[in-house]
Amino acid sequence: MDRFEWSDGKLKEGETVIKQQGGVKISDGPEKTNFENGLAQLTHSRLIWRSPQNQQSIVCLHLSLVLFVEEMSDGRGKSPKLVLHLQSPRANQPKGPVYSSQHTHIRLGFKEGGANDFNRCLSEVLARKVWEFAPVSRPANQPRKIHAGIVGIERNLEKQRKETDQNISKAFQDLDKLIGKAKEMVELSKKISTKIKDKQGEISEDETVKFKSYLLSLGINDPVTHETHGKGLKYHEELAKQLVAVLQEPIEENGGMMALTDVFCRVNRARGIELLSPDDLLDACKQFSRLRLPLRLRIFSSGVAVLESISKGEDEKVFEAATLLEEF
């Protein structure tokens, strides 16, 4: 608590309040203090606490003194606390409410909630350590800001860089949240998949197909449902028919056979957007025989995969050649 200093509460130039929360009390380590039920304000460089009754009673803590933050649940239904672990006070520490303290941390209690949000903002600010870049505050009689010239350009670039940094860190945060939600569904899908595996025949075929389409949307590869012969997804069936319509002629002109990589390139080049994944192509091709389409997928022992025209394929050509020879 001795790292805090009295403050007039005025924000420095360029300083803005990122987050504020009412109902916050400060504890010196585990000990209670008089600083209860106040308004906590977080800026890029300081934590300011304002008393609810006494307008003059304002203390602040410079964030460079904070080592790290952790959440502490107080149990028994009490609101969670944030524990701020602090460095040792500087030699030139300005006067504060407490002269010296044996504790190396302070705790913030959130009677009105908001601990999580505050923690998130605080952690972000600490990670970026803006005070290390903060310009020294100018005395009043220096020339005005330079907007033009090299310095102005540099300043703009710096500003843009900071904005991009902020955007990106928000992007990372949003992504983490999104992935967290996706994870719940992955867990649920695993449970359903086990059920399907254990009781074949209890789940209707339609429901299995519905489940498969959910898995496809999320990108979950489930070996149990993926390889089931029988009804595939409508998407793959439609795709199979489209492929035949587009590819039958080129394949026949190409000698009745075309490598799957070649097919992949041609089809996607033709589509331009909404491209097919390699798996989409493969799954669609696997439907050819079931749908009795005039093309078939053939995989050689070396692993090479080709699409073959049924009427003009290798076997048929061999048969034709043999017949011709017999006629001689």
Binding site: N167, I168, K170, A171, F172, D174, L175, D176, L178, I179, K181, A182, K183, E184, M185, V186, L188, S189, K191, I192, K195, I196, K199, E202, I203, E207, K210, F211, Y214, L216, S217, L218, G219, I220, N221, Y235, A259, L260, T261, F264, C265, N268, R269, I273, E274, L275, L276, S277, P278, D279, D280, L281, L282, I299, S302, G303, V304, A305
Partner: protein, 245 residues
């Protein structure tokens, strides 16, 4: 106090079992419904995320890579299908599948020269050239190309990444069986781009017969060129290891 014996008890047990079975399948239906609802909610979340960050994914290779890694940790493959949520709303599918097409085209164009084996850096350079001059087109990273290659594997053309001793990667785009001996030869050649039978004997301690067998196979596959102009004897060159001409 009744004891559970006799036909009556057996029938009761059967009835109870049947009820449990029904309950089990009912639960699966419930879970499917639950999942359907969650999916709808998730789709809305994803739309919001896409509105804010779709461009970040396109423009920022680091962010893209982080996205892929996070998906992998929860067991989701955002590139599995062009019809998946991720592909449709974030456009990741089109991004990677297009790279896939470009990779195949580059490999096909150079196959006559290097037999289907080239360094990953060379591939990356050539893919970037194919994409054009705009800065955005150039923002394809090594990570992007490697992920695209992994997806191409299922097309059956033998797309495989080999890691050499110095940490570099070679891309194989033909379905030749490259066993451990072939990879050892590749590693021996990596500094100079070529080997000789003598070099293999010296550096790997192989018998002459073994070296000849391995090199003949590589010549057959078109992966090495034979050079009889050196005074010391026949040299075998790997075009895939040449610096880019």
């Amino acid at each position: 106090m009744r004891r559970a014996v006799g036909l009556g008890a057996i029938n009761k047990k059967k009835l109870a079992e049947a009820k449990y079975k029904d309950k089990g399948s009912e639960l699966a239906e419930e879970q499917l419904n639950q999942m359907s609802k969650q999916l709808d909610a998730f789709r809305a979340n994803l739309e919001e995320f896409a509105a804010n960050h779709r461009n970040d994914i396109k423009k920022n290779p680091e962010f893209r890579r982080h996205f892929q890694e996070m998906c992998a940790t929860i067991g989701v493959d955002p590139l599995a299908s062009g019809k998946g949520f991720w592909s449709e709303m974030l456009g990741v599918g089109d991004f990677y599948y297009e790279i896939g097409v470009q990779i195949i085209e580059v490999c096909l164009a150079t196959q006559h020269r290097n037999g289907g084996l080239m360094s990953l850096e060379e591939l990356l350079q050539k893919v970037r050239t194919t994409r054009g001059r705009s800065r955005q087109a150039q923002d394809v990273s090594l990570d992007d190309v490697m992920r695209a290659i992994k997806k191409l594997k299922c097309l059956g053309n033998g797309f495989v990444l080999h890691r050499l001793n110095d940490g570099r990667f070679m891309v194989q785009s033909v379905p030749a069986e490259l066993n451990m001996d072939h990879t050892s030869v590749l590693n021996t050649a990596q500094g100079t781009g070529h080997v000789s039978i003598k070099a293999l004997q010296d550096k790997l301690g192989w018998q002459k017969e073994r070296s000849m067998l391995v090199m003949d196979r590589l010549v057959q596959e078109g992966l090495v060129w034979v050079d009889d102009q050196d005074r010391e004897g026949r040299l075998y060159w790997f075009p895939g290891l040449f610096p880019d001409t």
